[in-house]
């Protein structure tokens, strides 16, 4: 499923974008926010494929900083409050754009993500390495301990954790423990 996060102060523009996106393709998961409050958490929680943000907001943010923690590739689309040249790229849209322009630009982006996703879905299962990390998490180990036990850096542990949470849809340690027992990655005796 394609996930889109819209960060746009104008209610009208936000709803307009949602209506265009819904016409392009059914089943897009769209989250919206009017302001940059908690934007880092929101990006982390939603893990969007496409991040649509108004330039009046993105210009005052450090976008690189904002996106550096998300290891997945995020396609950033900028919304301009002014008209754009005809040769503007697909990742630049204007509030003056016609319906057909918007459908074309956003449609191209969605198409490229769809192709990318198809190649990825095969790997939605946990990898062996991720299972190793999950076992350690379920046993209540800290990131540092996991890193030592598996001979990897804590940074790698954190990135494995993110992928595990994204693939399983489980965020908390106790939730991951329940999953591990249900799937025989650890047994009840291991934790008692």
């Amino acid at each position: 499923m394609i996930k889109v996060l819209i960060c746009e102060p104008s209610y009208l523009v936000r709803k307009g974008l949602i209506s265009v996106l819904n016409e392009l393709k059914g089943g897009i998961d769209i989250k919206e926010t009017a302001s940059t409050d908690d934007i880092i958490e929101t990006i982390g929680d939603t893990a969007p494929n496409i991040f649509i943000i108004n330039t009046s907001i993105s210009s005052i943010l450090n976008m690189e900083q904002l996106l550096k923690d998300s290891n997945d590739e995020i396609e950033v689309v900028s919304v301009f409050n002014s008209p754009l040249n005809l040769d503007s790229s697909n990742t630049q849209i204007s509030i003056f754009d016609s319906k057909s322009t918007l459908l074309n630009k956003l449609g191209e982006i969605i198409k490229s993500i769809d192709i990318h996703n198809e190649q990825e879905t095969a790997s939605e299962e946990l990898s062996d390495r991720e299972k190793d990390v999950l076992r350690e998490i379920a046993l209540g180990k800290t990131n540092k301990e996991i890193a030592t036990n598996l001979y990897i850096s804590t940074h790698t542990v954190i990135s494995h954790r993110k992928n595990i949470t994204r693939k399983l849809g489980i965020k908390t340690v106790s939730g991951l423990t329940v999953y591990s027992i249900l799937n025989q990655i650890i047994s009840v005796e291991d934790i008692s």
Partner: protein, 241 residues
């Protein structure tokens, strides 16, 4: 649709029965006859505008008039939030727990798995009551003391004795996310647990969890986006006393 003061209270519930929760938590009893929202609110000493804003927030996820909310009295929010807590602890949480326990009892062969879910939820209940306890015993009394100071135009003895060292930031450091575990539970039930033959019971458990989750989201939004900024305002105000 925007909810307005001249609408009949009974029609409001026909339109969106989830608003029963708002009506109950703001302290209004049922039995409305043909009275309008405004009439019912006046009768029950509830500020009509406060009720309208809350009802609209619960009815429409896009509606959140932060500025309008900030002018309402902190005590009104505390009353509302307290009743919400009570509703969680006395009804919603026990109901979900009962459903889990009854599922465990019914399933004999895979009951070990359900035992896990039961323990998971027991942990959650403990976490939630700690979270709520902290708000009820420390944060709300602190806010009441703050507003008493503002009313009297000076720092009251109660405030100096109990809260001189306290601040809303201390609370924010201690306070934990209570929605994540619920989110996990939902996913474990939907994706990873083999369902029992009695799907109806299983579904109704999931349904209750979804409803509690939505409710908690609005609840946290009111706490984080309105109550806390409001407290910061009050903290600024008494600095000058």
């Amino acid at each position: 649709m925007l909810i307005t003061a001249e609408m009949k209270m009974a029609d409001l519930i026909h339109m969106d029965f989830q608003l029963l929760a708002v009506i109950q938590r703001i302290g209004i009893p049922l039995g409305f006859r043909e009275k309008s929202i405004d009439e019912v609110c006046i009768e029950n000493n509830v500020n009509t505008d406060f009720f309208l804003q809350l009802a609209n927030v619960f009815h429409d996820a896009d509606y959140f008039p932060k500025e309008k909310f900030l002018v309402f009295k902190a005590e009104w929010f505390i009353g509302f939030l307290r009743r919400t807590h009570q509703c969680y602890l006395d009804h919603k949480i026990p109901e979900i727990n009962e459903k889990i326990v009854s599922l465990v009892d019914e399933i004999k062969d895979s009951s070990a798995n359900y035992e896990l879910i039961k323990n998971f939820f027991t942990d959650y209940m403990r976490e939630l009551s700690v979270h709520i306890g902290l708000e009820e015993k420390t944060v709300f009394p602190y806010i009441s003391a703050l507003s008493e100071c503002i009313n009297q135009g000076k720092k009251t003895d109660d405030f100096i004795q109990n809260f001189e060292e306290y601040g809303i930031d201390i609370y924010l450091d201690e306070h934990s996310d209570i929605e994540e575990k619920l989110f996990d539970l939902k996913n474990i039930l939907i994706k990873y647990l083999a369902p029992p033959t009695d799907n109806c019971k299983y579904n109704s458990l999931l349904y209750e969890i979804f409803r509690l989750e939505t409710d908690l989201q609005i609840h946290s939004k009111i706490e984080e986006k309105i109550l806390i900024p409001k407290v910061r305002q009050m903290e600024q105000e008494i600095k000058n006393f």
